[in-house]
Amino acid sequence: MMILKMKKEDLPAFLDSVKEWGELWGPVKKGEKVTYAKVDALSQMDLKATRTIIPPKKFLYPQRFTMFDFDQDGYVERKGDVPKRILFGIHPCDIHGILIMDKLFLENYKDPYYAERREKTLILGHSCIPDDKCMCIATNTDFIAEGFDLFFTDLKMFYLVWVGSTKGHDLVRMRPDLFSRDLDKNDILNYTEYRKWKTAQFKSNVDFTGMPDVFELGYNSPVWDQLGDKCLSCGQCTMVCPTCNCYNQVDEVELGSLEGTRDRFWDSCMFREYSLVAGGHNFRDKRADRLRLWYTHKLQAYIGEFGKPACVGCGRCVATCPVDINVVTVSTALKEQEVGK
């Protein structure tokens, strides 16, 4: 993969130039937290921020959108109202999250809605400094080698820029004057130093090794019921999780006609309605059953299927759940057979 070097002070000019390709989006302060918002310039972004409230999945797979317009003659795919966007400042964990979404939506019955947005969205990654909730080191998602168009690693004076796609390369070609291929000994030393330094920053010592077996053993553990008693079923964990893809769909009609739209919106396996079938039977009526499904999916089933967890260690569930049910507390509770306070 091509790795280039860019002076740090050249980044604003570069981002200014790439706006020609599409809208520029980046992390922007919202209260105490951060969200991805449309910006004009780098100066509006908060690059020190760790995690946004919801992950960049919202760009590839919006909270609610129209799939089809229908009338008496049938269903017509709704396409084309997707803007071209450049997302700057996406962290390795979130790019890993996107890769998991890619696998789901782009392989085996490719989802055209996701594909269109993925194609029109450029991912410009940025290195990050872990906080006390970051645990990507435990999920092996603290660095990233694919899934982005460009990736910027901050080495104080310089950026090392990984060029991950032809589109990323096109952006570089818009301002070739700002990049160089002159990488010397110091760059390599700086980079190794940076990796060591980043690894040393992690404060969370969560350990997911052996989780599939712990889940299998703990299937009937009373821990699930205790967690179920605590769970508010608010669904926030699933909304903020970069690898949660579940959705529901509904047909809406225009008043006075049978013409309308088929819409898709984010759903959550934490909701009672999620596994309810016609006739009233619910496969997961209990909160405990629903929690178990979610955590089993993330930390057992996905590992069994793909050799890695469907958790990218972003810490959003830790930073969101009001009653402290998250990958850390659940895995610990299962291992220690006790729900922490």
Binding site: T35, Q63, S233, G235, Q236, L255, R272, C321, P322
Partner: protein
């Protein structure tokens, strides 16, 4: 497609009439509503009202007098579908917040003193489904225009309206708000049905629960959490009962009973 416009009626009982007002406030679509349906009775909107058989009756407000009870029963009898609109009709509304506490006579006396009320005999306000079968609920205080209009459109088309069943937290997250509850402030979001678009939390105002309870609420977890955050038990109960109506009153009653049993 040959079809007859469904005959509808809009009725108000104990409440602020805000839901009927919201229907009238659908200015851009009002003509369409009156075009797609045959509005037989809507006292707030028009004067020539005919009380007869209806395809759909929209009922606002809770039921709090014997006269209202007689009328709602009568409306039910002549309506194929009865839809409760607004949180008062769906759950009881704030006037039902003391349900289950057995304090109605005391409250009545405090408000009316010894004055003789002959118009109607009052009782503690309760949701419409405490007395007659309700086919569908469109909660809200007041109802949301879009939610109401999409439901009406589906009904007119002979389809089943779909309303979100999950808590407002989901919509709140869709709008990418910080969790107020996580930050330690009182927020009734997890107990409250979605549909409003999380307007209040989007303006950093905690949810007071005006959409009424969700189908699957965990009152005891919310209670424990708020207590842990430093709220007093009486305050928590009072706040979650404000719009919780009959459903929350019942759950709170059961919880308190359990607590007493645990103590004894």
């Amino acid at each position: 497609m040959t079809k007859q416009s469904p005959k509808i009626g809009v009725y108000g009982f104990t409440g602020c009439a805000g839901d009927q007002l919201m229907i009238l406030n659908c200015e851009d679509q009002l003509v369409d509503i009156f075009g797609a349906t045959e509005v037989r009775s809507f006292v707030m909107a028009k004067s020539d009202n005919h009380e007869g058989e209806l395809d759909v009756a929209f009922v606002e407000g809770s039921i709090s007098t014997d006269e209202q009870l007689r009328r709602v029963k009568e409306i039910r009898e002549r309506s194929k579908v009865l839809i409760a609109i607004g949180t008062c009709a769906c759950h009881g509304g704030p006037q039902a917040m003391k349900l289950g506490e057995g304090k109605f006579d005391e409250m009545y006396k405090k408000v009316y003193g010894n004055a003789k009320i002959t118009l109607a005999k009052a009782f503690e306000a309760q949701p419409v489904d405490a007395f007659v079968k309700v086919d569908m609920y469109i909660p809200g205080c007041p109802i949301d225009k879009t939610e109401f209009l999409t439901a009406v459109a589906k009904l007119v088309a002979g389809r089943h309206p779909y309303l979100y069943k999950f808590p407002v937290c989901t919509e709140c997250k869709w709008r990418e708000n910080e969790c107020i509850l996580y930050n330690g402030k009182f927020c009734a979001g997890p107990l409250t049905k979605a549909g409003c678009g999380a307007i209040c939390p989007s303006h950093n105002i905690p949810c007071v629960g005006c959409w009424g309870p969700t189908d699957d609420l965990n009152v005891s977890a919310e209670y424990d959490l708020l207590k842990e955050k430093g709220y007093k038990p009486e305050e928590i109960i009072q706040k979650i009962k404000k719009f919780g109506g009959a459903k929350v009153a019942q759950i709170v009653g059961e919880l308190e009973k359990k607590k007493k049993e645990a103590k004894a």
